[in-house]
């Protein structure tokens, strides 16, 4: 028993130390700094909840929060709908479905920054050229206002991540016994009824996982934001993560940035956990 206890701690300690060094201690320090006037080097006074009061009166933060929430709602819906649709498509029996899986997944292999620059070119050059050639005004001037900036970010994120979501849905779709689907077919269910009443409830765990991933990813997005719009024009497409980075490194207000980051963390954690809790309740054992 003593030996087991020793080996148990021997294996666990490196992980605990690493976690403490890079997660727990910085997090606790961060929480502490959010109550000070820390400027990245040191602090001179304790401010109490002043930073928290300030941030809720900070129009930049509120705008970024609202923009991020809208972005998350749209991307979560689109990513899950498109990811599931792609998964349903490539799990059909036809030639080339494996090739399609690879093609759909490939954008996920490209880094967010590079992807942002590629799509910046597509939006500003290719869209523009097409718009002019075919006299479609809505294709011109992309990324020059908040609306096209928003949809540009949505398109890039969905294009990048839907292949990844597709893979998760595929794994669960392939787990559904074919006999259950055939039984529904014999029961007279149309393909749509089979999807609604049988397939979808049976891939509920995948839905939980994908909702969690897309939600937290949507809130945390930074690199695409940086390379595609850099928050512009006039900070109208600045998302929460970027707002926090800018507060810290552009405005040099590290303490306020810490407070924002803590609020950000609490929002993401609360929404994600709530979502997981409610979706888990709907899941069934196969």
């Amino acid at each position: 028993m003593k030996n087991r206890s020793l080996s148990f701690w021997l294996f666990l300690t490196p992980t605990l130390v690493a976690l403490a060094l890079v997660v727990f201690i910085p997090a606790i320090m961060g929480v502490f700094y959010s109550f000070t006037n820390w400027d990245g080097l040191g602090y001179t006074e304790m401010l109490g909840f002043k930073n928290y009061i300030t941030l809720f009166h900070n129009s930049g933060f509120i705008a970024a929060l609202w923009f991020t929430i809208k972005f998350v709602i749209v991307t979560v819906i689109l990513l899950n709908v498109i990811g599931l649709a792609l998964a349903l498509l490539v799990t059909q029996k036809f030639k080339g479905n494996n090739l399609l899986r690879t093609v759909f997944f490939m954008p996920n292999l490209i880094g967010g920054l590079i992807l942002g620059f590629i799509w910046q070119f597509i939006f500003t050059q290719a869209f523009d050229a097409l718009g002019k050639a075919f006299h479609m005004a809505w294709l011109t001037g992309w990324l020059t206002d908040a609306k096209t900036g928003f949809w540009g970010l949505v398109i890039v994120t969905v294009w990048q991540m839907s292949g990844y979501i597709m893979i998760i849905y595929i794994a669960y779709l392939q787990n559904i016994p074919s006999e259950v689907i055939e039984a529904a077919e014999m029961d007279g269910a149309s393909p749509w009824q089979r999807f609604v009443h049988i397939t979808f409830p049976m891939i509920a765990p995948a839905f939980t996982v994908c909702m969690f991933l897309t939600l937290s990813n949507g809130f945390k997005i930074y690199d695409q934001n940086l390379s595609l719009t850099n928050g512009g024009p006039y900070k109208s497409t600045e998302m929460l993560a970027m707002n926090i980075v800018n507060t810290a490194y552009s405005e040099n207000n590290f303490a306020l940035a810490e407070a924002k980051a803590l609020i950000f963390f609490l929002i993401v954690a609360a929404i994600s956990l709530l979502q997981v809790y409610y979706n888990r309740k709907r899941e069934v054992d196969l």
Partner: protein
């Protein structure tokens, strides 16, 4: 309920060189309980799935009440099916599982409730209607699967190895329950199994298949006592029929290695008339037609074999003597009183009036 005809049905999967089902012909009469039996991969499930509409028919016609059903969608065939792995909808309660097909067909709610309650009553599931399949035992799940078929009031029931996931005792119980269900519902049933005991005990008629081909269609009695060929003879019956490669000479069959027995006059005449005198043939003797009791040895003194018992199994009423004569192994099913220990040398009498003879080349029964 319905007359079903399968006329020259073939199935070949894309990319395959050979047919999975070859020239399948069958007329199913009203209210008949048909069992498809055969070893794994013989095409019995494929045939069932073609009838269900879950597989395309490559060639041939499937007719129900005179109408060709080849291109009719499964849901429009008025067929209910019970699957091997139950195929219950895990997220639905037992009630909803049974009601699903009726809801899809937009049946009035009170009629759905009446039918489900009735089926639950027949199957003893009334107390479990609000449970989900995950909270049921294997036998209960299988009954739900049956209930789902019953409520549909279909023309034809298809059952694809429905008992193979149950333990031996439950299997026997469910076997009886399905047979009772058939009598009660008075509907056509096609039942697929690889278990010849299930086939023998439940079927009005058995279709025995091998390598995608129908070997014989007949009543359990026909298949057991008048097998069409060596395959059918070997497949039906447990333990299997013993086979001896032998030669017919001077009214006796012998293999020069222990087997040398006389053939009764009537059987001998048939063999001689068919020209088997002096030729090789296969002799089949069922284990229960081999005797060790003194009275049998005296009565069948011209059909005795010296055997050595290698393994013996005591089964209560019977004993199985796994024995050897020369280099041929065989099994004798004798009365438990005639138990012999392994290693004992025993004289055994072969009841040749009940023996079967098969052509050495074609394996077809000589009759």
């Amino acid at each position: 309920m319905a007359e079903i005809k399968l006329e020259h049905i073939y199935k070949r999967y894309p990319g395959n060189d050979a047919d999975s089902v070859t020239d399948f012909n069958l007329d199913i009469k009203d209210n008949e309980f048909i069992v498809f039996v055969g070893p794994s991969g013989c095409g019995k499930s494929t045939t069932l799935r073609m009838i269900a509409g879950l597989e395309d028919i490559t060639k041939g016609d499937l007719k129900m009440d005179g109408e060709v059903m080849n291109d009719v969608h499964p849901k429009d065939r008025n067929i209910a099916m019970v699957f091997q792995n139950y195929a219950l909808y895990p997220q639905m309660t037992v009630f909803d599982n049974m009601a699903f097909g009726l809801k899809i067909r937009k049946m009035p709610k009170d009629e759905i409730k009446k039918r489900v309650d009735n089926a639950a009553d027949i199957l003893g599931l009334t107390d479990y209607l609000q449970r989900k399949p995950g909270a049921l035992s294997g036998g209960q799940r299988q009954r739900v699967a049956l209930g789902r078929a019953i409520v549909r009031d279909a023309k034809l029931f298809l059952l694809d190895e429905p008992l193979s996931n149950l333990d031996a005792k439950l299997r026997v119980q469910m076997r009886t329950q399905i047979a009772q269900l058939h009598q009660r519902l008075k509907t056509n049933m096609i039942y697929v199994t690889h278990d010849q005991v299930e086939a023998m005990t439940m079927a009005d008629r058995i279709v025995i298949m091998n390598d995608g081909k129908v070997q014989q269609v007949g009543t359990p009695d026909d298949l057991y006592n008048k097998p069409a060929n060596k395959f059918v003879a070997g497949f039906m019956g447990s333990p299997s029929m013993n086979f001896f490669d032998a030669k017919l000479e001077n009214g006796r069959v012998s293999n020069g290695k222990g087997l040398d027995v006389a053939i009764p006059e009537g059987r001998l005449k048939v063999l001689r008339d068919k020209g088997y005198e002096g030729k090789k043939l296969t002799v089949g003797v069922r284990p229960e037609d081999i005797h060790t009791e003194q009275v049998a040895l005296e009565a069948m003194s011209d059909a005795l074999v010296d055997a050595k018992v290698e393994v013996s199994e005591f089964l209560g009423t019977d004993s199985m003597l796994y024995s050897r004569t020369g280099d041929t192994e065989f099994v004798a099913q004798v009365n438990a009183r005639d138990y012999h220990k392994p290693g004992e040398e025993v004289k055994m009498a072969f009841e040749m009036s009940k023996a079967h003879f098969f052509d050495d080349d074609t394996q077809v029964t000589i009759e």
